[in-house]
Amino acid sequence: MVIVGCLVFLAPVFVMLLTALQPNQDVVQYGPAAFPHQWTLTNFSQAWTQGSLSTYYLNSAMILLVKVPLGVLLASLAAYPLTTRRFFGRKALLVALLVGLGVPQVITLYPLLEITRHTGLQGSVWVLLLPYLAFGLPFEILVMRGAFAGLPNETLEAARVDGASEWRIWARVCMPMVLPALASLVVLDGVATWNEFVIALTLLNNQASDTLTIGVLNLQGQFGSNYAQLEAGIFVCVIPMVILFFVARRYLTRGIAVGAVKG
């Protein structure tokens, strides 16, 4: 029962895969609901080369590799005093930072576009870095706050009595103790960054700087009615997330639980 349910549920994925694995003329002739008459892998290689997917992959990977560690670092720094210290305006600041979760990205797009016009970064994938960092912070701080709040107070106190500076306590005491939360956050943030669409759609203005989500949209225009090749392209676009998902599933689901539930 459950197996049948799962198969039906994942039918869209199978439809995509089966379409991608047969020649396009077969898809057109027999329709995608038919079992493939012949199998082929050429759609994938053609989608990869003709769709310039390697460029999109590289752009997405570059932004991911810089954005995620930097975002997690900034959020860990910010969440530390917000969780373990008392100072004037702390609670208001915490609320202000977390409220960013509910700000629709679309309302910031035009002003962001204007800012990028002044930075000279236009035409490069790096225009995404700072907006991505800004929109990532609320969730990252939420997760790091949950992680820091779970640390035993006595440990921090002991370190302070020993005369360790706050920087040292943050780096040597707190961060090593929240490694599981950090791992979850890196995975979740990686997924969100890889999948981001609307900011990239607005700020990127040429194919050479497009990320994979924009690239896959380009494929739709480019491959037109070559459905098999288009589906192969979509498959190539989503497969990193599928792999990551199976490798890091535990971190992913635990991160969501820590971020949203523990609060």
Binding site: V15, G31, T84, R85, P104, R160, V242, L252
Partner: protein, 309 residues
Amino acid sequence: MAAFTSTVAPQGKPRLDRVWERLNRRTLPWLFLFPALIIYGVFLVGPMMTSLWYSLTNWSGSGAQHFIGLRNYESVFTNSTTLLALRNTGLWTGVMVVVPAAIGLVVANLLRGKGWWKGPAQALVYLPAVLPTIGVALIWGWIYNPDFGFLNSLLAKIGLGSLNIDWLGGTSTAMPALLVAAIWVGIGFPMVLYLAGIQGISPELYEAARVDGGSRWNVFRNVTFPSLRQTHVIVVALEIIGSLQVFAMVYALTAGGPGNNTQVLGTWMYLNIFSFRRVGYGSAIGWVLAALGLLVTVPYVLWMTRNDR
């Protein structure tokens, strides 16, 4: 963490040191916060406020910005397409708060506890949630394709070929078709939240219910559902926040069409600003959306930080 504030300099330290220490204690939190605050302020709060200003002008993106007060907002609540987008956003939110959450809860309840197949089954249900929305949209676009798509091809197989529905092009089918795709992606997230919530329920409650000989349904109704009150709040709040921000799915599958039938506030705002060059008006639409979002997010964040001293 009151103890920390009472940390005092060791006896006999020179006075200057103590002053320095106190100064340091004051500024230290801000040093930790500084980089995050700058980026958050310049690239999120700043643009947000700039668009609030635009929403009070009739700006087209170039030339002079004329302040016109609340006239854009007046037009938001009188323009029929904008009202349709508002209604569609409401419909989307209503459906997404109820359907994926309910399915997620049922699935979480089926897949809780021990069993070798439960972990993998949870994983498969969650899988669509990690795929890029745009990829998911295109997969469903292929399923709904009127000429060669899977759905019509399937209908033909079972002898209903004459129906041959243009799923995304028909005024009565487009919105439901979008929602089905969104629900498909959307089940995993509430399921994970509910699984985490269920894990927090004391096993003794289940044990007691079992001893009482409660049926599966009774256990669910009397133990599971009421114990998840906190999770319900989280799920509902996050679903509302997420639904208000819906963009990629609609943009890629229908771009708001046919006509403006599936227009939501996000896509309608985007079109106004980037296609019609009505930056002022588009920003006003955006701010209605933002206001709705903040109306939910602010109480939610306050509720989440309620134990924060």
